[in-house]
């Protein structure tokens, strides 16, 4: 039973003022099983982010279906779920991570991670403890814990984002170009982070533009150009 099944998905953007409609993506099919990591590759502009943002409903999907096997609602089509259902899923089941930090201003890294837990109804003590664990786990310098993340580097923002998303232990985590514009050293760190997530059994959908990075990391690689899997790991056990 797949945890996520994307069928004949397509997305257009209409800009009324220019009287233009653009087809961002069309005819996307893929599915993944619990615990799998699927990587999506393609040129910039090929619609990778569009797919991810549509799954998270930051974009409103307009064609096809995105079936997600929710713990709370059973199988649900994310393209038709109500806004309140989406908010619930974002809070408890589906995480989204990019390099861009879109958070409450005037909030420290530590508070941000704690809020992720508090909004799920965790107690304050537990939130404090788990937030620290997450910040240690994703190797954010303790000097940065009690500062505002505005001035963080790309890599630091990303790791904070990952900490905020993963403390919730989401069932499905969407990674939107987490390595773009990072140097080799930071990329290596991100890779280790993803390996950790995978070992914990998180189902991941990630988009990347460098194939090298994904080697040995993904169970499946979906190519936007051919619209097929170009790589599938044969045995599913992860060493």
């Amino acid at each position: 039973m797949p945890i996520l099944e994307v069928n004949n998905f397509g997305k257009r953007f209409t800009i009324h003022h220019l009287n233009k409609t653009m087809h961002a993506v069309e005819q996307i099919h893929f599915s993944l099983k619990p615990g799998e990591f699927i990587g999506i590759i393609g040129k910039s502009g090929s619609g990778k982010s569009t797919i991810l943002k549509s799954i998270y409903r930051t974009y409103l999907p307009d064609q096809g279906s995105i079936l997600y096997d929710s713990k709370r609602f059973g199988t649900i089509d994310l393209s038709k779920a109500t806004e309140r259902q989406m908010l619930f899923l974002r809070k408890y089941e589906i995480g989204y991570v990019s390099q861009f930090l879109n958070v409450m201003p005037r909030t420290t890294s530590r508070q941000l991670v704690e809020h992720s837990l508090l909004e799920m109804g965790e107690s304050e003590d537990r939130a404090r403890m788990e937030a620290e664990n997450a910040l240690i786990h994703f190797e954010l310098d303790p000097k940065l814990w009690d500062t505002y993340p505005n001035t963080f580097s790309g890599g630091e923002k990303l790791r904070l984002n990952i900490a905020m998303a993963t403390v919730k232990q989401p069932r499905l985590l969407l990674l939107d170009e987490p390595t773009a514009s990072l140097d080799q050293q930071s990329k290596k760190k991100v890779r280790e982070v993803i390996e950790k997530l995978k070992r914990n059994g998180t189902t991941l959908v990630g988009i990347f533009h460098d194939i090298e990075f994904m080697e040995g990391l993904c169970d499946k690689v979906y190519d936007m150009k051919t619209k097929h899997f170009i790589y599938e790991k044969e045995d599913e056990c992860i060493v």
């Binding site: 009324h16 003022h17 943002k53 409903r57 930051t58 974009y59 309140r84 908010l87 409450m104 201003p105």
Partner: protein, 279 residues
């Protein structure tokens, strides 16, 4: 549906003026925006329906004159609706259209279920009463009778909105705009309302004070789980506060969605214009 709305608004309609044969109750094409040039009737709210769920912040955006504030005033019974229904999820009021209740029942809802923060603190506060007196007034309306208890509650609230307690006996007219707004919020919260209406609460405040008030609102939501309707023409405020957002134009709801979706993938021409104007 897996949850019940705490407030349900259906087909809220509010017009100023009698209407004529030409404007046909606001359905006619001959209206200029929401104004009938022949009889001068303004259709301020046209068939407005939405749900407010427990613990959420619902954002309402739109340009001035789009009917946002009128809608809030109708919900808070400051204005009578022309037609429409509103239901609150409460065992005593289940299935009763709140707009049809007696004045006394409406007052009781305002005292026990609702809090309101107006854009202009003059509407929400008695400017020549002491700040703590303002809060006590609302507490008395909500049925509190013990002075000690009321004083403790008021102090607590003023402290939580960062009003120094040594100034609690001062009149709000001596305060700055930001402080007045915070006293107004404290007053609105004093009866522990499950539903809070916030009408352009940060408009006209300077940025640092605005930040203060926004942080306070977010904190209230997180800690008390109050459901809020936040009206603002400022998308930055909506982006920071609201989970879901409704876009109003000429008295009607033209679009609704998750706030990030409204901002990143707006569907309607007007919403696109609004979002693209964001600097």
């Amino acid at each position: 549906m897996y949850e019940k709305p705490i407030l349900k608004v259906r087909h809220l309609h509010k017009q100023f003026g009698k209407g004529c044969t030409q404007c046909q109750e606001g359905h006619s094409e001959s209206l200029q925006k929401n104004y009938c040039p022949k009889c001068g009737t303004v259709y301020a709210c046209r068939d407005v329906s939405f749900d407010l769920f427990p613990g959420e912040i619902l954002g309402i955006v739109g340009e001035s004159g789009s009917g946002k504030s009128t809608m809030m005033q109708c919900l808070y019974f400051d204005e009578a609706v022309t037609s429409g229904e509103a239901y609150v999820n409460d065992s005593d009021l289940m299935g009763k259209n709140m707009f049809e209740l007696s004045a006394q029942q409406k007052r009781s809802i305002r005292n026990h279920k609702y809090g309101m923060v107006y854009q202009n603190p003059v509407h929400g506060l008695k400017m020549d009463f002491s700040s703590i007196g303002n809060i006590a007034e609302k507490l008395i309306a909500a049925g509190k009778r013990y002075v000690n208890e009321m004083e403790a509650t008021s102090k607590n609230l003023l402290d939580s909105v960062h009003i120094p307690l040594f100034r609690m006996k001062e009149e709000p007219q001596n305060f700055s705009g930001g402080m007045q707004q915070r006293v107004q919020i404290a007053k609105a919260l004093s009866n522990n309302p499950p539903i809070l209406f916030l009408d352009e609460v940060t408009t006209g405040l300077d940025l640092s004070v605005q930040a203060n008030v926004l942080d306070l609102i977010k904190k209230i939501q997180r800690e008390l789980g109050i459901s809020m309707v936040v009206v603002s023409h400022d998308l930055a405020v909506i982006r920071m506060l609201a989970d879901r957002t409704v876009v109003m134009l000429n008295g009607s709801i033209i679009e609704e969605g998750l706030t990030d979706q409204i901002l990143e993938d707006p569907q309607r021409a007007y919403t696109q214009q609004l979002v693209y104007s964001l600097i």
